[in-house]
């Protein structure tokens, strides 16, 4: 059988903050195209650290070292230019962070302006409408596109941030607890949105919320103390975990 190159693959990926301690230890896993993969685990288990490694965010902090390989479409991103990687790997952060000085319209297009890409007015309008529609925000904001992004509610701001990331047509979308700062209704909206979006983009989501992982992801990773303890179908993991630690976490005895 011919094997397809996975869209994203971790090969013995390690991240260390200091020489003695590793925050992520020898993680190997391959992520399937157009799926939602949840990364779960107790606080400090290295799940955000692993996620941020995919976007080369650790390059900003000289004391953090990433070892091993992370392959995006078969190419090791650790050897690529950060600018190039980040254009193909979008990221949505825990707290909604629309650019405060930009309008809603300019926020959606900020990926282009930050990359120095010039667009015609018609192209801009089309991109803004397409992206805001795909995050189900268009109807709510189409008359206030010139208002500041920070004028929106928390849930709307987070959807704007997703739209901003989608505008660059990334292969992979990284989400670092995107709903932890939102109320249940806004969370529900985002979850529905993600289920829709997996048709166009592969999503890797860090979540504290086991219910959320169960609701939206097809694959799940469970991390503990920097190790990838278990990785597999979400359903199997929740119904019949392999590892005692996974079981303890899922049943609320740990974490």
């Amino acid at each position: 059988m011919e094997s397809v190159t996975p869209i994203l693959e971790f090969k013995n990926t390690c991240v260390s903050y200091t020489k003695q301690t590793m925050a992520v230890k020898y993680v190997s896993a391959s992520i399937e195209r157009n799926t939602i993969t949840a990364i779960m685990g107790p606080s400090g288990c290295g799940k955000s650290t692993l996620l941020r490694a995919v976007n080369l965010m650790h390059n900003l902090y000289p004391n953090i070292h990433v070892d091993g390989e992370i392959l995006l479409n078969g190419k090791n991103i650790l050897a690529m230019e950060p600018i190039d990687v980040r254009r193909r790997v979008g990221m949505v952060f825990q707290r909604p962070a629309p650019f405060p000085t930009m309008s809603i319209y300019d926020n959606v297009l900020s990926g282009f302006s930050l990359n120095g890409i010039k667009l015609s007015k018609a192209e801009k309008d089309a991109i803004v409408e397409r992206c805001l529609r795909s995050v189900a925000l268009w109807d709510e904001v189409k008359d206030v596109l010139n208002k500041k992004g920070t004028f929106l509610s928390g849930g709307q701001q987070q959807r704007l941030c997703i739209a901003r990331a989608l505008a660059m047509k990334p292969d992979v979308l990284l989400m670092d607890e995107p709903t932890s700062a939102l109320d249940p209704i806004a969370t529900k909206h985002i979850e529905q949105l993600l289920l829709e979006l997996q048709k166009e983009v592969t999503i890797l989501i860090v979540t504290h919320n086991m219910g959320q992982a169960k609701r939206i992801s097809s694959k799940s990773m469970f991390m503990y103390l920097g190790e990838l303890v278990e990785y597999g179908d979400t359903e199997t993991m929740f119904s019949n975990p392999n590892d005692e630690r996974t079981k303890a976490y899922l049943t609320g005895k740990m974490g």
């Binding site: 952060f93 962070a97 000085t101 302006s113 930050l114 901003r164």
Partner: protein, 288 residues
């Protein structure tokens, strides 16, 4: 017993409150007294010609005093000189200061940045009279004459550390998520700085610029060594030029012109006060 204790504590609380109020009033007294004094003495001297005409000659002023008339002329030469020199100083100090502040905010760990940061502190603590004499040696002597250029260089050097610090501090308190979000979209560091971080920090940086202006606008010592002064309205930047604080010093030294001191002082005070209020307002608006 416990009731007595409670009374005791309440009494102490009241005493403390009165003490704090008293001290706060004491601090405000000199400020208000200065404002009041300058306002009372200077108010009469404000007139249209005070702002449009240059300083009178001592002879003209003497004649007017003998005839029992108010002194003719005003401080237009000083106002124009101040505006020209400040304008040139701001033109150079703002871009240089902002870029330097951005560098310091982004590279907290580099040795070079720490060295520059230390120098900035040193520059901020340098007495203005020393900056004046240094500018005299560096600029006035090679140019073979006092000039507006030399004056603006001295003011620029004094403004730089203030602008650098305010830019650095404002950039540092921006949430990291803003910078990370910009970089996560594939922008390079320079673009993220120009399009995301600096606009977000605009309020703080602008406040810093206004404070830097109000800090140097009253500087007299460095201008004595560099701009020298000039008794008529002049726009040339390579010749000696006047400034409002220089005029106050000149008026003080000339018995015939002493009536103009308070008008000039009031003008300077109101200008600085306006800048301060404006920067406070902007800072408040930006923080919301």
């Amino acid at each position: 017993m416990s009731r007595l204790r409670l009374k005791n504590r309440l009494a102490k609380d009241k005493l403390m409150l009165w003490g704090v109020c008293l001290l706060a009033t004491l601090t405000a007294v000199p400020l208000l007294a200065i404002l009041g004094e300058v306002l009372l003495r200077g108010y009469d001297q404000f007139s249209w010609s005070f702002f449009t005409e240059p300083t009178p000659t001592a002879y003209k002023a003497m004649k007017a005093i003998e005839a029992g008339e108010p002194i003719p002329g005003g401080i237009a030469n000083g106002i124009i000189g101040t505006i020209i020199m400040l304008g040139m100083a701001v033109f150079v100090a703002v871009p240089v200061g902002i870029l330097c502040g951005a560098f310091l905010a982004e590279n907290t760990k580099s040795r070079f940045a720490q060295f520059v940061s230390y120098l900035t502190d040193l520059l901020q603590g340098t007495p203005s009279v020393i900056i004046g004499i240094i500018t005299y040696i560096w600029v006035v002597v090679p140019m073979k004459g006092y000039s507006a250029i030399a004056g603006s260089i001295a003011l620029c050097i004094m403004m730089l550390p203030l602008i650098i610090r305010s830019t650095e501090e404002t950039l540092k308190i921006l949430p990291t998520s803003l910078k990370e979000a910009g970089l996560a979209l594939g922008g390079n560091k320079a673009r993220v700085m120009i399009k995301v971080q600096l606009p977000a920090a605009f309020g703080g940086i602008f406040t810093g610029i206004l404070l830097a202006i109000s800090r140097v606008i009253g500087e007299t010592a460095p201008l004595m060594f560099t701009a020298l002064g000039c008794s008529f309205i002049r726009f040339a930047i390579n010749r000696p030029i006047s400034a409002v604080p220089l005029l106050i010093w000149e008026f003080f030294n000339d018995p015939n012109l002493q009536d103009l001191i308070w008008g000039a002082s009031l003008f300077l005070l109101l200008f600085v006060l306006t800048l301060n209020l404006l920067s406070k307002y902007l800072a408040k608006k930006w923080n919301q």
